[in-house]
């Protein structure tokens, strides 16, 4: 339903862009033949034609205007009177989902490098469920901070270990879910920002490799790009990829927060010839990945599979999962201990995680939210004395410094985000990622809509975003009196009784 509406909007915009110059001509003729007064309209539409030309063809900073022209201007007009409309008529600044306006505005500002100081007071709730960070009475100065460094694979002594110097990484989003220009913008931006990008489970990472940023190759349950006919791993193909310079690490995806217990889903609207080829799948139906890896039938074979991939690639190898039962996770950890095989990192994806497409019930109801899941995982690893055998990454709406700090306090070593970077690229949360009709050209393969993205103009926004996140993180660390994220602990959090983290306070 929503999809239909948006296609119509796009058609409407095309129609308008054509109608404006035609009307200008018609009014000109009317002014010539009927009455000179018609030229008031001629002039108006002539001016509109010129402005429209500028929006569509000349400027590169606004995707909406590039795609929709003056009709897209409606969005900016509404935005400028939005606060009033919203305050009196619609939702308020902290109500929209999944990201409310306050959160989105913060990302947009960071991406556009605009100062994000705000005045008078917070829009958040203070007496109920919001977790807060405890600062120190003795903040340290920023030059006392220890520069961030995290080396994946050091625990196993991997020859090709990989070090990041900023605690942010672009989380998995496949080419397929994303269009070509979005992939290129992310990749070019990641390179500018000096952070790695996860390829997502989209098969052979053609455009990612083109751009030459550091890559984490993700192997989904269908193993697109490295599969045999029967869905098992093709070692040769994996090794060939692992030998590429840009590919620094490999992530085995077991599950993701938006659809835990279910395989990936790519709607047939979004399958082009090229994507069918890169993934090795047919074109005419939805591609549904199996819900688990063919090799992983139980806990024992799962751990053995991790070992196999580590040996085959000679790269740091991590796993990504959304936690369902902490007990089950503990069994996995015990088995890792027994076999003495540990992934180089574990990505904990919260149930609030995003996706290109997933069944609604899974998006809404399945999986543990990030904070309690992350805390459980960290506690289980610590309890079994293996926390120092691997790194812990977190994802799930960690788009702004506040929640990122909470994740660090809960044990995360670095932050993964998908939607934070999409917002930086100009995502307006139109929620049409699965329909191939994304109005700003991110999650679509329609070349007309993708035209909205000018890669050179957008890539710096990724870098700005990372830079500003880093800046805020440093300030927060200093205020907490910590020299690095490693020094942050659960005690740095103020947890109100309504919070999902409250039970952990009591058990501690």
């Amino acid at each position: 339903m929503i999809g239909k509406l948006s296609i119509d909007l796009h058609k409407l915009a095309k129609f308008t862009n054509l109608a404006i110059p035609i009307l200008a001509i018609l009014f000109f003729v009317a002014g010539l033949k009927v009455s000179f007064y018609f030229h008031f309209l001629t002039v108006t539409f002539l001016f509109l034609t010129i402005i429209n030309f500028f929006y569509l063809k000349v400027q590169t900073t606004h995707s909406v205007l590039r795609n929709f022209g003056v009709l897209g201007q409606g969005r900016y007009m509404l935005e400028s009177i939005g606060p009033e409309l919203r305050q009196y008529l619609f939702a308020n600044d902290t109500e929209e989902k999944p990201f409310n306006r306050t959160e989105r505005a913060e990302v947009y500002r960071k991406a556009k490098n605009i100062d994000s100081a705000s005045s008078f007071g917070s829009q958040f709730e203070f007496d109920s469920s919001e977790i807060k960070i405890r600062h120190s009475m003795f903040p340290i100065s920023k030059d006392k901070l220890i520069p961030y460094r995290l080396t994946f694979g050091e625990e196993r002594g991997v020859a090709n270990s990989y070090t990041i110097t900023k605690p942010f990484m672009i989380s998995a989003m496949s080419y397929g879910a994303l269009g070509e220009r979005a992939v290129r913008s992310f990749a070019r931006g990641a390179k500018m920002a000096g952070i790695p990008m996860n390829t997502g489970e989209g098969g052979y990472p053609k455009y990612h490799l083109d751009e030459g940023c550091d890559l984490i190759f993700q192997m989904g349950t269908a193993k697109f790009g490295v599969r045999n006919e029967d869905g098992t791993l093709n070692d040769d193909k994996l090794q060939e990829l692992a030998q590429k310079d840009s590919i620094k690490m490999v992530e085995i995806k077991f599950s993701q927060g938006a659809k835990p217990g279910k395989g990936g889903l790519l709607p047939k609207e979004k399958i082009t010839d090229e994507i069918a080829e890169l993934r090795g799948v047919p074109k005419d139906r939805d591609v549904i990945s199996p819900s688990s890896h063919a090799e992983c039938k139980d806990i024992e074979s799962t751990v053995a599979f991790i070992d196999h991939v580590q040996k085959a690639t000679e790269l740091p190898v991590g796993i990504k999962l959304c936690v369902g039962r902490p007990q089950q996770f503990e069994e996995l950890v015990l088995e890792m201990k027994r076999q003495n095989v540990f992934p180089d990192w574990i990505t904990v994806d919260g149930a609030e995680g995003g996706t290109g497409a997933a069944p609604k019930a899974f998006i809404d109801r399945v999986g543990m939210p990030l904070f309690p899941a992350l805390k459980s995982v960290n506690d289980i690893l610590a309890k079994n004395e293996v926390r120092n055998r691997l790194k812990l990454l977190a994802s799930g709406k960690l788009v702004a410094p506040g929640r990122q700090m909470v994740a660090f306090c809960l044990g995360a070593d670095a932050i993964y985000s998908a939607r934070g970077f999409m917002l930086s690229l100009g995502c307006i949360q139109a929620l049409q990622c699965g329909n191939n009709t994304c109005p700003v050209g991110i999650t679509t393969h329609d070349p007309v809509l993708q035209h909205g993205i000018n890669i050179d103009a957008k890539a710096p926004r990724i870098a700005n975003y990372v830079h500003n996140l880093e800046h805020d993180l440093e300030e927060l660390l200093a205020s907490a009196g910590c020299r690095s994220v490693k020094e942050l602990t659960f005690d740095h959090l103020f947890v109100p009784s309504e919070s999902t983290l409250y039970p952990f306070i009591q058990s501690n």
């Binding site: 002014g31 007064y37 002039v43 001016f47 400027q59 900073t61 606004h62 201007q73 605009i114």
Partner: protein, 131 residues
Amino acid sequence: MKNKAYIFSWIAQLIAVVIMGQTLFFKFTGHPETIAIFEEKLNMPGGQYVIGIAELIACILLLIPTSVAYGALLGAGLMTGAIIGHITHIGWEGNHLTLGIMAIITLVSCISVLIIRRSELPFIKSALKEQ
């Protein structure tokens, strides 16, 4: 740099105001030649008052610092109309040539003002915001 641009803008504004302003006298006093143009050539009897009032508003807006851009927009629109009039109805002979050239000069001035002050226009402002 910015200051220079604003000085240039004010010069252009004054040119536009002077040119439009002096024709108002002829329009509002019903000078026979003006009436001839509006009634015979353009077939808009009384049009000199409509256009005259619009030009007066444009002149005033062009002189008030907070509304210069709006005045320039209105002026540019009116002058585009005038030039269309010259092309299609009035022609460029004799005195009409002078009037036509005046209109073109005013249009150029108004457009210069618009370009210099583009960030003062509503809506376009938000669209132009670099980065």
